[in-house]
Symmetry: C2
Subunit: 164 residues, 2 copies
């Protein structure tokens, strides 16, 4: 049995509780470099600095998915946040779920615009990268270091279908 989940626009308000939306909108602006650069300052809570952790910059190259997108599992990172920003300027799909006694509840689906990134807060259930339309590269800031930083959960007997 598949349950349909409608995708909604990504916004700070809608995403509150799951992490940060990385965007220029409503950001603190600082004019620097003799006026040649605007700095939209401190847009995400990078939370990777336990005793063994350090921030990593990596590039992710994601194969594209197409609607309806089937969701059968979720994952989370107990030790660190994970930020994604599209380098293709292309919208991508952001699927998260509230925690319900150590397992993910019903997913919520957001469409990130090409100029929006996301930062999943530590321990927030989310689906692995879901690029759309074409193979897409993302800049990723997450945690490196010792410790088990991946939990996966398969929904038992349930499938969710993200529809546009």
């Amino acid at each position: 049995m598949a349950r349909e989940i409608a995708v909604q626009p990504l916004s700070k308000v809608a995403f509150a509780g799951f992490g940060d939306v990385i965007e220029t909108k409503d950001a603190e602006q600082r004019l620097i470099n003799e006026g040649t650069t605007t700095r939209f300052h401190d847009l995400a809570g990078i939370d990777v600095a336990d005793q063994d952790g350090r921030p990593l910059i990596s590039l992710f190259r994601g194969q594209p998915f197409a609607f309806p997108v089937e969701i059968t599992m979720m994952e989370r990172h107990p030790l660190g946040s994970q930020a994604f920003f599209s380098l293709a300027g292309r919208p991508f799909l952001v699927v998260v779920a509230p925690d319900e006694d150590g397992r993910p509840g019903t997913p919520l689906a957001f469409l990130a615009a090409g100029d929006q990134g996301v930062n999943y807060a530590k321990n927030v259930w989310h689906h692995p990268l879901l690029a759309l339309d074409a193979v897409s590269d993302f800049l990723v800031v997450d945690r490196g270091g010792a410790g088990e930083n991946l939990q996966e959960f398969s929904y038992p007997g349930e499938t969710f279908l993200i529809v546009s």
Copy 2:
């Protein structure tokens, strides 16, 4: 008097000593997410974790410069590294200088391709952001926190002209 400096292609070898080139080329690759994502892993040394420091994600919107680009000053960040990746997929100019007794020496100029980022190592002299061709957004990872993290230096009586 202006001295001409020819721009050269950006590569890990040429940029060694100044920081990291963030690119998929020659990176450690990990196939993840059931084969739907390639992770190009750990591409830059983010060096912001002193006692008072924390990593920031910000967006920089840079006004475009045009060749020949006049260089009269440099800056450096004594407390942390600073990484830039173009979100426009557009080449940009990377100007650095070796330290000579606490002041920047003669600049070197690199043309970063649209799919290359840079990470200036802590305390490396570099010019503020030099976008090219059009107003361009960059994702920036640098240091937040207490402490004086900016030094600027104006070349006395000298101007350098970066030529393509």
